[in-house]
Symmetry: C2
Subunit: 155 residues, 2 copies
């Protein structure tokens, strides 16, 4: 648990999931894809209990103001990784250093597990996010196309 | 285990890992990034034992001629996923339907687990691979940039 200017970061518990789920939907609206999240709250809760993902949260005045949702992943070329699937700071709380606090907590989590690489994706038009990530020593690779196949599109 | 024209597909065992590791390096050469794989065989073996990833293999005349390396993953928007990290058919065995056999086995694996989405990446210049994937009902999304941060580049 890390505290900074009344912001606390810690691992999410089951009782935090409602606030986490709300922020996930807030990001989808920001990313102009409000109808993309189809994951129900019931499945989300069960999958959390089954440890398919973990969440770090930032709390200000007892409210969840940021989330970093991640899971173990693997690269045959590099070895063990952490994959950051979702990273959201509540819109009215941006610019207060909460993103850095939360992203650093994600990196610490990976260091504890001795992962070789951290990986995530960013929308190519999301300039503020790209600017944020540029502060880290990461590479930006637009040569790889993401392929997605939904279960209900299987032939 | 599925058999077709003397090709067998099945889950890899620890004793198969050497052949799997060789094919991973073969793909890196094909993708013009021969020095990118830094994962040692020792770590690769240990991570397999620790279940960080699984592998489906295709076997022809007792030789491993194709691999599909994948792991559980998660999308906050969609739910449970399988992520295909590496998919290789031995160069002299391409065009014989082994790719379809192996990819279909990967899809069956996800259906067993009731995942909502299958995800993977393809290099934007790899026309034969893109053509192969186009036969499936998947989307190709080049709006997301892949960000990678290696542990030894942490500040």
């Amino acid at each position: 648990m890390t505290k900074s200017n009344h912001i606390i970061t810690r691992k999410a518990l089951e009782s935090d999931l409602e606030g986490v789920y709300q922020l996930i939907h807030e990001l989808a609206v920001y990313e102009k894809q409000p109808s993309e999240p189809t994951n129900t709250f019931e499945d989300f809760t069960q999958d959390f209990k089954d440890a398919y993902f973990e969440v770090l949260i930032a709390i200000s005045e007892e409210e969840i103001v940021g989330i970093a949702l991640f899971h173990d992943a693997y690269s045959s070329w590099k070895g063990r990784m952490l994959y950051l699937d979702d990273f959201v700071i509540k819109e009215n709380q941006r610019g207060n250093g909460i993103g850095k606090l939360l992203f650093d907590a994600y990196l610490v989590e990976g260091q504890k597990r001795k992962v070789k690489q951290f990986r995530w994706h960013v929308l190519n038009w999301n300039a503020p996010a790209i600017k944020f990530y540029e502060k880290y020593n990461c590479s930006f690779d637009d040569e790889w196309i993401t392929c997605k196949l939904m279960d209900n599109n299987l032939k």
